[in-house]
């Protein structure tokens, strides 16, 4: 039955070819460290899913941010769980992409012809850190407020243009409703868009070029 449905669909949309290209491609003999990219992708999907759910109740204004987060955590069924996964997933994300990067460095997998894959990976690392930085402010508690005060002040340290950068990042002289709104906007619109586009390029290149083998002694 399922084979018949599969065949019917394959005749029309050709999904088997796509499936084979993505999941049944030939790879060299590798070890578990080669799963770190997939693990990052998996956690990223979880973050997108739980993040979308959180926006159903979260309100990004100084009046309501803290209360709405408390409401999610204490009043909404499964709210503590969804928020907890998003919270811990954020840390897992940073750890995983960092380990993924280390693996690529140690095996020299960034070399020709995979330089562009590496470059998109570098930008993806920055995007993930950006997610962490902007997401940290959203609960609008004491920790969030002062961490972002410090973090944005660091962004304002360069000479000459520092003050200007500080206002661009904060949207105002001090942390305010404008800061919260733009951190939220960046967290749920700008960064996800960048993340998805970059992941698509990254994966396209991984599939197109194949993954690199572990370097052998003779080389």
């Amino acid at each position: 039955m399922s084979t018949r449905v599969g065949n019917w669909l394959d005749e029309r949309i050709g999904w088997r070819g796509i499936w084979q290209t993505i999941f049944l491609r030939k790879i060299p003999k590798v070890n578990w460290s080669f799963t770190l990219g997939s693990a990052s992708l998996f956690v990223a999907s979880i973050q997108v899913f739980t993040g979308i759910l959180l926006t159903l109740y979260y309100v990004p204004t100084p009046d309501h941010a803290y209360d709405s987060v408390q409401y999610i955590t204490t009043q909404i069924a499964g709210g503590w769980f969804i928020r907890g996964i998003h919270h811990w997933g954020a840390s897992a994300m940073v750890v995983l992409v960092f380990l993924h990067m280390l693996r690529v460095i140690f095996y020299g997998a960034y070399k020709f012809p995979r330089e562009v894959t590496w470059l998109t990976g570098v930008v993806l690392l920055i995007v993930v850190i950006g997610f962490g930085f902007t997401g940290y402010l959203l609960p609008w508690d004491q920790k969030a407020f002062w961490a972002t005060t410090v973090g944005t002040r660091i962004a304002g340290t360069p000479p000459l243009i520092g003050d200007w950068i500080l206002i661009v990042v904060r949207g105002s002289e001090e942390l305010s409703a404008i800061t919260l709104a733009r951190f939220y906007g960046v967290h749920v619109w700008v960064l996800p868009t960048a993340l998805i586009i970059l992941i698509l390029i990254h994966l396209y290149l991984v599939i197109r070029l194949g993954i690199s083998a572990i370097p052998s002694r003779e080389e």
Partner: protein, 167 residues
């Protein structure tokens, strides 16, 4: 279990091993989907479990303020908690008495789609501006799309004050 692993690991069952891996992958995917999907559904539909509010007696106003024979508008301020927000809300009721003893309290919410009706004195009718619903003095539908008469509240009078049962 051990037998199963030996059987899966044996040289002769290369193909079966692939099937086992495939089943494992789909199994784990299924577990993650269910483990995340069920809390997600509970999370989304959670407000339905909090929507039930207890009914209380709401003080509408002094009986002496009701004009005999014509619906009189009363406005009442109440505190309402929605999510984490406590709001002061203004409710409106039309109170009607023909003899100064029996009172009818009508909701001003149109039974069609929830717009607010108002009393048009010279036509002696309630009129809803959204879709031209018309009700008579006691709330029965005269014309337009409303399917039911205006909602009536349970009334009690204590110390010449009018109370209704509402949420």
């Amino acid at each position: 279990m051990e037998v199963a692993i030996k059987w899966i690991m044996s040289e002769a069952s290369e193909f079966k091993r692939g099937d086992f891996l495939k089943a494992t992958i789909f199994g784990v995917c299924g577990l993650v989907t269910v483990g995340l999907g069920i809390p997600a559904i509970a999370y989304v539909i959670s407000p339905t479990r909090q929507a039930t509010q207890t009914e209380v007696w709401i003080r509408v106003g002094a009986v002496s303020k009701v004009e005999v024979g014509t619906p009189t508008l009363f406005k009442v301020k109440i505190q309402r908690t929605t999510g984490w927000i406590v709001n002061e809300e203004e409710l409106s009721f039309y109170v009607l008495t023909e003899n100064g003893r029996d009172y009818i309290v009508l909701s001003n919410i149109c039974t069609h789609l929830g717009c607010r009706v108002r009393w048009i004195a010279d036509q002696e009718q309630f009129f809803c501006p959204c879709h031209n619903g018309v009700f008579d003095k006691v709330g029965n539908v005269v014309s337009g799309p409303p399917p039911k008469p205006l909602n009536r509240f349970v009334v009690k009078i204590e110390d010449n004050e009018l109370y209704i049962l509402g949420s």
